[in-house]
């Protein structure tokens, strides 16, 4: 496939137009790990994934999450977990993975035809 992207939007300036400098960044020896952040927006609701951030440890991850994701009272409780501990499904295997649920329509209430008098059941 051949692509030509010639349109330069705000925030999308092509590298060849960027000028460049002689400055070379130093290798950073201390990269903070990545954490996923989950926030309960109010009492009674589930924690929901809101994004991620970098922090040296769990305590700092919580403090950073407070500053980054709850500046306007968006949460009453925060969970953080280091991203490397999350195991996720693979979209390519979605077919096989969810296949067992596909043909079991009798798990849904509307599968059952009832007389009109009790059909609101």
């Amino acid at each position: 496939m051949k692509f030509s992207i010639r349109k330069f939007y705000y925030g999308d300036i092509p590298d060849e137009k960027s000028g460049g400098t002689d400055y070379r960044a130093k290798e950073d020896a201390a990269t903070w790990p990545l954490w996923e952040v989950f926030i309960r927006s109010k009492q009674g609701l589930d924690h929901k994934h809101v994004g991620s951030l970098h922090a040296a440890d769990a305590k700092m991850a919580i403090e950073n999450a407070r500053d980054v994701y709850t500046r306007r009272m968006e949460g009453v409780s925060i969970w953080v977990v280091e991203s490397k501990y999350i195991t996720a499904t693979n979209p390519e295997e979605a077919g096989e993975l969810y296949e067992p649920a596909v043909d079991k329509i009798y798990r849904h209430p509307m599968f059952y035809k009832l007389p009109d008098e009790v059909n609101h059941m």
């Binding site: 496939m1 692509f3 030509s4 992207i5 010639r6 349109k7 330069f8 939007y9 705000y10 925030g11 999308d12 300036i13 590298d15 137009k17 960027s18 000028g19 460049g20 400098t21 400055y23 070379r24 960044a25 130093k26 950073d28 020896a29 201390a30 990269t31 903070w32 990545l34 809101v50 994004g51 991620s52 951030l53 970098h54 040296a56 440890d57 700092m60 500053d67 980054v68 994701y69 500046r71 306007r72 996720a88 693979n90 979209p91 390519e92």
Partner: protein, 313 residues
């Protein structure tokens, strides 16, 4: 799965307005375009803190200082949402920051203009954030999931920025002659660079616009720019000020305001690094990063020490 089959799934998702998520298959060019756009957007938020940070200690009252501080903190937050969205495409945060500092990655060239007076804080909020909002509202519907979600979050916070900016100008426009002049001067200096924020005109782009096809972008540069002009022409009347363009005139046929020619030489000059503050902005970013090096190292060393203690106990 064969590449052709995966591409078919991808295309169908784009067509049916289903979002693309990090682990989904996507064409390399889609990944690259998103990565470049999201990281440049993140850099813009981070560098965007500098022109305003310049005024935090000099804002005219405690209230204004607190507001400006909150706004600058929001920009930092926006940068962080966007960096984490960009990271889902497979580039590390370090790599992104390094390419900014090495001048390889770009940020919005509007931030290469200096903030000379207090009224500039108002003009930035009204015009610069106003222009950014039009872009960002459109990007809430962009096809890459993490980018769209970050934009929704940002848009919720951004309207405070624009309103506080307009309010600064509105107060000045009701002040004494000097304050009014300061207000007009800031509008004069920020108007044209704000129009440039939308990028070159549509006619300069080739006919195949992949970003539009992929629904990364949904409106053309000129469409957004026109929307912005139409909006500002009305708003500036409330301030009793003028936009510095004699060619602004209602066009009954188009049902839009006509406006003057943008100086694209200036735009490319600033993009290439020759704007009034390019060097200063990059130098400030590098300095902050370099001087923060020992803090990052110390925090990691402290975390490691605490971990060993925990394991030993």
């Amino acid at each position: 799965m064969a590449a052709a089959a995966q591409e078919k799934i991808f295309t169908t998702k784009i067509e049916t307005e289903e979002k693309i998520e990090p682990k989904d298959w996507m064409p390399d060019a889609y990944r690259k375009t998103n990565l470049r756009q999201i990281s440049q957007h993140a850099h813009s938020e981070i560098v965007g803190m500098l022109p305003e940070g310049n005024w935090i200690t000099r804002a005219p009252s405690l209230k204004r200082k607190a507001i400006l501080l909150a706004k600058v903190q929001d920009e930092a937050g926006h940068g962080l949402y966007l960096y984490s969205a960009a990271e889902t495409l497979g580039m590390s945060r370090d790599e992104m920051i390094n390419s900014l500092h090495e001048g390889k990655a770009k940020y919005s060239s509007i931030f290469n203009y200096p903030t000379l007076t207090w009224a500039d804080m108002g003009a930035i909020g009204w015009l610069v954030d106003g222009a950014a909002i039009l872009n960002q509202v459109m990007l809430c519907r962009t096809s890459y999931g993490p980018y769209a979600r970050a934009m929704v979050r940002i848009c919720k916070e951004e309207s405070f920025h624009q309103r506080q900016g307009f309010e600064i100008l509105w107060v000045l426009s009701n002040g004494n002659a000097e304050q009014k002049a300061m207000c007009q001067d800031a509008i004069n200096r920020w108007w044209w660079p704000s129009l440039m924020m939308f990028g070159p005109t549509d006619s300069e782009s080739t006919n195949s616009d992949q970003s539009m096809k992929w629904k990364i972008k949904r409106k053309s540069n000129d469409e957004l720019r026109q929307q912005f002009v139409d909006m500002c022409v009305e708003q500036v009347k409330v301030l009793g000020m003028q936009l510095p363009d004699e060619k602004i005139k209602w066009n009954e046929k188009r049902k839009h305001y006509d406006f003057g020619e943008i100086d694209w030489n200036e735009f490319w000059n600033v993009v290439k690094g020759n704007g009034p503050c390019n060097k200063e902005r990059l130098a400030a970013r590098r300095k902050a990063h370099e001087e923060g090096q020992w803090v990052r190292e110390a925090a990691m060393a402290f975390a490691a020490k605490r971990n060993t203690k925990k394991t030993a106990a």
